[in-house]
Each structure stands twice: as structure tokens, then as C-alpha cells.
């Protein structure tokens, strides 16, 4: 479980996150939803420690991140995998080297052992025979898959995904969403997914936190989300013709 307690974060005088408290459960895909610019990425980067929150605490399974030693923080880092919005694959490395990278940095496994793990992870995301391709040669969906494979190569306890569907067609989006959900259940990972895609919300939203202008505005699951009478949430969900028809 990951918990955020009273997180606030400003850039200059722009108050991006306002006293956000929310928790995310193990073995579930936890969604953070909200409009573009509402503060989802900033919240995720605070959770993961890429940004230092101005106020509040982040707790990883009873370990308060700001109160533990640097050594223990490093341990947590190695339990975390992240899928970045654009994939963030290392473009000087091919697919195999990208997935192998964390193993090379943090384990003393032989090349054969590492390769076996790499192929297992690539297999898990249904990507075979792509080992020697470079990121510039991959499609959007393939990039996301390689990024997932890299994120799970170290067997993470915590998985963060920032807009895993951005730039993908609806079908590929569905594949990636379900992959994230399956992996989460299979390895009992605490997974947090940022999204503004309603398809994902309805497909994998086991626990949903709605962020509105930097505030935690609503929490629930994919069943509640369609029935809520929260005005801002409804504006967000029923913004498209498709979802409006769905409601009727």
C-alpha cells in the first residue's frame, strides 16, 4: 500500500497540489484521473520522490519516505517500477539492453541469467523477436510494452504508470491497460495509473481518485463513477458525446 498524507506542492506561486490525502491498495490498479493540467503527474512524481512535496508525507507500507535513512530510500527505489508518459526508453540502447539495464546496474547475474529474465519479461508483454530493435524503430504500442517490460524486470512491489495510453489507438490502449491489470494481480503489485482516458477508467478502475484543480475531489470505483452526483466529476466523465449517450 502507498499512502499520501496532506501533500501540498507549489511551483513558485502556482499552488499545484492542495493538501491531498489518498491511499492506493496492493494487488489493484489504482487510478488517478482528472483533466490535463489538474496535477496528476505532479502527484505521481511526489509519490515517487522525483519532486519533493512542500508539505505532507508519503508512506510505502509503513515506511515513511521522508523519515527513513538514505539507505532505506534506495531499497524502496529498487522496489519501484515506472512507466513514463513517452516510454522514456534509452534511445542509445536496443530493446534487450533497455530491459536488461536495471539488472546490469543492480545485480551480479551473468549475461545468460539476465537474458533469460529479459526474455521472460518481453514474453510477458507479448513482444518477441524485437530484442535487437532500437526505440526509434518501434511503434507507440511497442514502446509502451518495452517500457512495461523494463519496469517489471526487477520484480517491483510498486508500479507507477503515467498516462500509459497517451498517443495510442483505442485498441492498443485496451491491450496495454489489461496488461497492466494482469501483471498487477499476478505479482500483487501496488499499481498507480494516471489517466484521463474514460475507457481505462471503466475497464481497469478498481479504485479511482479524481483530482480537480489540485484537490482530491472524489474517490470510488468504476461502478460508482457513473452514478456519482459530484458535479465536477460528471463534467469530466460526461465530457464526450459517447459517454453522454452511455449514461442515457
Amino acid at each position: 500500500m502507498i499512502e499520501a498524507r496532506n501533500i501540498s506542492k507549489s511551483f513558485g506561486d502556482h499552488n499545484v497540489l492542495k493538501d491531498v490525502s489518498v491511499s492506493f491498495d496492493r494487488g489493484q490498479t489504482n487510478l488517478i484521473i482528472g483533466q490535463s493540467g489538474s496535477g496528476k503527474t505532479v502527484l505521481m512524481k511526489c509519490l515517487i520522490g522525483l519532486y519533493q512535496a512542500d508539505k505532507g508525507q508519503i508512506i510505502y507500507d509503513d515506511r515513511v519516505f521522508s523519515e527513513i535513512s538514505e539507505q532505506e530510500q534506495m531499497t524502496i527505489r529498487k522496489e519501484v517500477g515506472m512507466l513514463f508518459q513517452g516510454g522514456a526508453l534509452f534511445d542509445s540502447k536496443n530493446v534487450e539492453e533497455n530491459v536488461m539495464f536495471p539488472l546490469s546496474m543492480f545485480t551480479d547475474q551473468s549475461y545468460e541469467e539476465k537474458l533469460e529474465r529479459v526474455n521472460f519479461c518481453l514474453n510477458r508483454v507479448n513482444l518477441e523477436n524485437a530484442n535487437k530493435l532500437f526505440p526509434s524503430e518501434l511503434s507507440g504500442g511497442m514502446i509502451k510494452r518495452v517500457a512495461i517490460a523494463r519496469a517489471i524486470s526487477m520484480n517491483p512491489k510498486y508500479l507507477f504508470c503515467d498516462e500509459p495510453n497517451s498517443g495510442l489507438d483505442p485498441r492498443t490502449s485496451g491491450v496495454i491497460d489489461n496488461l497492466i491489470k494482469e501483471i498487477t494481480e499476478e505479482y500483487q503489485i501496488t499499481t498507480i495509473v494516471n489517466t484521463h482516458d474514460m475507457n481505462s477508467v471503466l475497464e481497469i478502475g478498481e479504485k479511482i481518485a479524481f483530482i480537480h484543480q489540485g484537490n482530491l475531489w472524489w474517490t470510488g470505483n468504476k461502478e460508482d463513477v457513473l452514478k456519482s452526483d459530484n458535479e465536477e466529476l460528471n463534467d469530466f466523465i460526461f465530457a464526450s458525446e459517447l459517454t453522454r449517450r452511455l449514461k442515457k
Partner: protein, 244 residues
Amino acid sequence: MIRQLGSFVLLMIQAFKRPDKGSVFRKQLMYEFQSLGLESMGIVLFVSAFTGGIAALQTAYNIDNPLIPLYLVGFATRQSIVLMFSPTIISLILAGKVGSRIASEIGTMRVTEQIDALKIMGINPANYLILPKITAAMIINPFLIIFSVFISLLGGYVACAVSGIVTLSDYITGLRYEFDPFTITYALIKTVVFAFIVTAVSGFYGYQTKGGALDVGDSSTKAVVYSSMLIILFDLIITQLLLA
């Protein structure tokens, strides 16, 4: 300005930590030897050969006093090559070639979140990305500069041979005339300092990049401009310290 200097120092403190993994660092170093060193040899060869020839011809055509011995051409060529041309001008050229490359490589990694990806894996990105480049350049550039000196002097030799304005034995006598080995030491010290300036400053501007592709271009321009200015500034300082 002071703030920039502060961030630069902080970045260097991060960069000069012990690498996470020795074997990975050695592999990166090998790669940088190739990409910063070997791949610069072409341009160094080209520029040095012609500049050596030009230096010899210029000196020769400017001597019209019959009392001045012609071996002075060799002497003057050697002095200008060793003291100024090879260490300073070649370093400036490398600032353009290597500096823009480093800044755009690291800047692209910044704007595409590759640096964040390194960070969340628990890797110190400054150390991982910048230290191998600084180390490689400080080791390989002295060889590039010595190579440049030889090629330049050879260029001068060829220019003398082809134009026939100075005899080859005069040129060679000049090259050997009053040779002070300390000038080589001085050139190499400059080279090592300039190698640090180019890689560290370019790494810094790359690392500081915010935004998108345009900002990467911007960082790369800044890297070249500021490392060139610092090279000239430090040339003056080192010259005053070592030759005074």
C-alpha cells in the same frame, strides 16, 4: 550567474561520486573514448594539416629581411602550433563538435524523461551520464593534441616542400631550434583543463534543459558558446600562471 555557478558546483559534486558499478563505468569509458576521441580524429587531422601549412607559409612570406635566417620559419611554426594552435584552437573546435553533442544527448534525455527514469531506478544520473564523458575527454584529448601537433608540423613541412620557399633542412633546423620541453607540458595542462571545461559545461547545460526539442537546441548552443568563452578565459589565466 552566481545561481548558475552554484547549480554547476552541485551537479559536479553529484557527478564526481564513485560510480555505482565499476564494470558499467569502464564500458561507458570505452564507448566515450571512441565517440569523443576516435570520432574527432578526422576533423583534427584536417584542420591541423592545413593550419600547419598556413602557419609555415605566412611566416615565410612575411620575412623579407635577408638578415633573418629562414630556419626561423620552422621555429615560429613550432612555437605557434605548440603554444596556441593545437591546445587552444583544437579545443575550441572540439567545444563545437563534442560540446554540442553532449548537451543535445543529455538534453534530449532530460526532456524525454530518460533522466527521471534513471533516477527512479535509483541511479545517480549526473554520475552515470557526465562522469564517463569528463574522464574520457581528460584522458583522450592530450593524445588528440599531440596528434594535432605532429600533423601540423608535418603540414608545415609539406607546405615548405611544395612551395620551395624554405628548404626542408632549414625547416627541420627551425623545428629543433631552442626547443623547451616545458612548452609541451604547458600545452598538455591547458588541454586537460579545456577538456574538463567542455565536457562539464556541456553536461551541465544538457542536464539543465527544460521543455522540448527547441530547448535542447538552445542548451546545445549555450554549451558551445560558454565553453568556448571559458576556454579563452582559462587560456589567459593558465598562461599567466605557467609562463610568467
